[in-house]
């Protein structure tokens, strides 16, 4: 099997224009004849549903939340990048493109990333027109801030709630289309399987989360906009409900899963405080501008109160190791260094999994009021969660899983290798390579939904005239039956362990062996332990209640069952990639001073995995990454 990314010919900066000039179109009267199924209502899903509805397609949109407005895009804080160059600081489409490719450690596809940079400006125009209240200057024009991985100010923001405001904008556009009847919304409805007819994606199987009813929906194309899989680690900054089921079910139906080992660990989160904990909370990275990161030099001091540890007994390890970047070292480096000192037994707080982020020097230098002005809301949030006053004693922070760069493989049209199955936003793999830059996730979700898919879906739809699928085709009944069987099987185990206990154990394995730092030995161990845990899950799970009612444990059980298979795929991918790049750090592959060591000769490819059946190892299919414009180079932060 070879992969055709269908990248348009011509110079990089002309590809998208020439694509649009020659793309197949569907006339308005014919669009009405097509029905498009969209799963997920976050930035990518809501934007796609609204825009395809505006164009005249009949759209069905599904989400597991009780309202499309609650998708997890809502929790993004920082901002959204766009190459507007409103600051006159030298920004351009090319610079945004280059920063994104470089930030991704040269593991993303050039043509897709360039297109993303090209449409970025349109997103800001679109959002302002729909009433997103971005921050403004006194003159009434839009304000920008700067973000990691860039030397220009290109980030647009709405206080610390940019994701919320962008999602509510897309939700408003979606609501408008629902009112007009072009989109039919199915909240509290979870996708359980993908239906293929003659090799094309023509429908989905869903479970009504209130009544438990399992039904199928037929359509002319299916769009998965279902987000990332960070919850495979159990603890992450993702919402409780975020899961891999939709994309994993598609994988099991033949869609290729690309680069599953690329996960992003955010360095500044509130540390885990106990086994009861259900999620981790991010603290804005901006805190590192004024906070100094340290741990005690000696293990014996870890139990002491921080103020009792004298200055010369503290190890300001980021300042020590990276003198020129210091506490502002990039995300992956900072995260890994925190793990190293904690592994060394010098972590602080419960469980020894935390490092200090100390503001005392900044408070002494600038005064408490300045720190309060800059970070007051964050200090308040920290106080609310931990009960500690960060003006009086240093914050405790620790890295946490935040975003996943891997996802289903897609071509330039955002179509997977299964005809008709399109994948948008975090759910696909295409734009961020091995590491995503801050403020780029919102950009990609909205780019895919508002501006890419409305232009690229015609390529597939134009070939589907007169091929309306029969909802009574046997494939639908078969898929419904297999989902019903699976639910019945979950309910019938009647063992002794709860869903969460399995999920927590899987999370521990993934975090220890496939987290911030990985190695062959650990990954091989994980590949031994996960199947055993999965076996126990299917023989010792305890579920109460029934399948035909609201049963949140049942919902979680289905998702955890998929995570228990997916975790193995991640480890396999991590084991295959014998190099370190971006969020994927293999301890065997580092420079003498501990930096990531890429291997461009052997691993400059997208690793796309193909499902081969129950109990069989998936096969690896490579899409070579060809760089026409960019010269590969090494990142250094010393």
């Amino acid at each position: 099997m070879t992969l055709d990314a269908k990248i348009p010919a011509g110079p990089l900066d002309k590809k998208w224009t020439s694509f649009k000039n020659t793309a197949k179109l569907v006339n308005p009267a014919n669009k009405r004849k097509f029905e498009i199924i969209i799963v997920g209502s976050g930035l990518a899903g809501a934007a796609a549903a609204a825009t395809l509805g505006e164009q005249g397609y009949r759209v069905k949109c599904f989400c597991y939340q009780d309202s499309p407005r609650r998708a997890h895009s809502i929790a993004a804080q920082g901002g959204i990048n766009a190459a507007k160059n409103y600051q006159n600081d030298g920004d351009s489409v090319y610079r945004l493109f280059y920063d994104t490719i470089k930030g991704g450690d040269f593991r993303a596809r050039e043509a897709n990333v360039h297109r993303l940079a090209e449409v970025s400006s349109l997103i800001i125009d679109q959002c302002v027109a729909q009433g997103v209240p971005f921050a403004r200057e006194y003159g009434g024009l839009l304000d920008n801030r700067s973000f990691g991985g860039a030397q220009v100010s290109r980030t647009f923001y709405a206080r610390g709630q940019t994701g919320q405001q962008l999602l509510l904008g897309a939700y408003a556009a979606l609501s408008h289309q629902i009112a007009l009847g072009s989109v039919k919304m199915f909240p509290k409805t979870e996708m359980m399987d993908l239906v293929l007819v003659d090799g094309h994606a023509k429908g989905i199987v869903v479970r009504d989360m209130v009544t438990g009813e399992i039904t199928s929906h037929a359509g002319d194309a299916v769009l998965l906009c279902t987000g990332g899989y960070g919850n495979v680690f159990y603890l992450s900054t993702n919402a409780r409900g975020c899961n891999v089921t939709a994309t994993y079910r598609a994988f099991k139906r033949g869609a290729l899963f690309a680069n599953p080992c690329y996960t992003q660990i955010h360095p500044t989160c509130i540390p885990v405080s106990g086994d009861y904990q259900s999620k981790l909370t991010l603290m804005s990275e901006s805190l590192r501008n004024d906070g100094r990161v340290w741990v005690p030099k000696r293990k014996e001091d870890c139990g002491k109160a921080p103020q009792d540890i004298p200055e010369d007994a503290r190890d300001y390890y980021l300042e020590r190791k990276y003198p020129s970047y210091g506490n502002l070292a990039p995300r992956d480096i900072s995260s890994r260094s925190a793990k190293e000192v904690c592994d060394d037994g010098r972590g602080v707080g419960p469980g020894g999994l935390g490092v200090y982020l100390d503001f005392s020097a900044a408070i002494k230098r600038l005064g408490k009021h300045v720190i309060e002005e800059r970070y007051g809301n964050l200090f308040e949030m920290y106080h609310n969660i931990t009960g500690e006053d960060a003006y009086e004693r240093p914050m405790r922070i620790y890295p946490a899983v935040h975003y996943t760069m891997g996802g289903l493989w897609v071509d330039y049209n955002l179509m997977s290798n299964i005809p008709g199955l399109h994948v948008l936003g975090e759910a696909n793999f295409s734009d961020h390579g091995a590491n995503r830059l801050g403020a780029s996730a919102l950009m990609q979700g909205l780019a895919d939904g508002y501006f890419v898919i409305p232009n690229t879906i015609g390529d597939y739809m134009a070939g589907q005239f007169g091929k309306q699928v029969d909802p009574k085709a046997p494939a639908f009944a078969e898929a419904v039956q297999s989902v019903k069987d699976r639910v019945a099987k979950l309910m019938s185990i009647k063992g002794t362990r709860t869903v969460d206990s399995f999920h927590r154990e899987l999370g521990h394995i993934m975090w220890d062996k496939c987290g911030m730092a990985r190695n062959k030995e650990g990954l091989e161990e994980a590949l031994q332990r996960i199947p055993k845990l999965r076996e126990e899950f299917w023989s010792n799970l305890k579920l109460l209640g029934g399948p035909n009612e609201i049963n949140m444990e049942l919902e979680r059980a289905g998702r955890v069952a998929d995570f228990l298979e997916f975790g193995e795929l991640m480890c396999l991918d991590a084991l295959n990639r014998n190099e370190s790049c971006g969020g994927h750090f293999r301890t065997e592959y580092q420079t003498p001073d501990g930096e990531a060591l890429r291997n461009d000769d052997e691993y400059a490819y997208v690793a796309a995995w193909k499902y081969e059946g129950e109990g069989k190892a998936p096969t690896l299919i490579k899409e070579p990454l060809v760089y026409e414009q960019v010269k590969l180079s090494t990142r250094s932060y010393k």
């Binding site: 408003a172 909240p187 009861y276």
Partner: protein, 252 residues
């Protein structure tokens, strides 16, 4: 910490519900309220009692999914969502009553889960700016005074949780509706549809069975997003103007 919980249990919308008593034992003070319920649910499962069903998702105070009435107050003591409430705010040994958000327009589905689709339908009635992707002018072509953008943002911060209606003795959704009317109405982009928007949204709100505002301000007191009740006065004014214009045939 240990607590005694009085939890509303109701199998379905048509069955009768009642408060059941459960013990929450050895709960860390650092646990959030929902994590305390997770612990109780694990315990109930081991005792073969069906776990308590409750909504939550982001667990960081922004998605608006969590919706518990704690000791009679939507989202419980303090200002914030249920998920941002931590057990150290309670006394050891305290009895805590947990009920769903109660409003006629939020029908109960099971235990602590209610259906808030009425809020979605109100937004569908007019809580948007009619605009299609690709048609927008340059984002900086219309300057918006900072103070106006900031006020619009204050209103747009609403998380749509429903606490306002649950707290109101009249079951009124006017804080929610007025926040959206203000957010879009303040911005130049939203002005062309202001009259239509306020008329359609208020009418849908009435149709859903929400009550009127009689100035209790309970909504403002429980709102986790800090939406001020003054937006309701603003909406009432817009509604009056729009309905007069409608009656003389100059709008909608």
């Amino acid at each position: 910490m240990n607590f005694t919980l009085e939890v509303w249990r109701q199998k379905g919308p048509k069955t009768e519900g009642k408060l059941e008593r459960y013990e929450a034992k050895n709960v860390p003070a650092e646990a959030s309220f929902l994590e305390m319920l997770d612990i109780v649910n694990e315990d109930l499962t081991h005792k073969n009692i069906e776990p308590i069903q409750f909504d939550s998702d982001c667990r960081e105070g922004i998605c608006g999914n969590c919706s518990l009435t704690i000791n009679g107050v939507p989202h419980g003591p303090g200002r914030g969502t249920t998920c941002q409430l931590y057990m150290r705010k309670f006394r050891d040994g305290q009895t805590i009553t947990i009920e769903p958000f109660r409003a006629d327009s939020f029908p109960l589905e099971r235990d602590l889960v209610v259906n808030r689709a009425a809020y979605d339908r109100i937004i569908q009635a007019g809580g948007f700016i009619s605009e299609r992707a690709g048609s927008a002018p340059d984002a900086n072509s219309v300057p918006i005074p900072k103070i106006v953008a900031d006020q619009a943002m204050d209103a747009a911060a609403c998380i749509g949780c429903g606490a306002c209606a649950a707290a109101c003795p009249n079951g009124s959704a006017m804080l929610f509706v007025s926040a959206k009317v203000a957010h879009l109405g303040l911005l130049p982009q939203g002005k062309p549809e202001n009259d239509r928007r306020v008329l359609n949204m208020v009418r849908q709100m009435d149709k859903e069975g929400f009550g009127n505002c009689s100035n209790y301000y309970a909504c403002e007191a429980v709102c986790p997003a800090g939406i001020p009740a003054s937006f309701i006065a603003r909406m009432n004014r817009s509604y009056s103007v729009a309905s007069i214009k409608e009656s003389i045939g100059v709008t909608v």
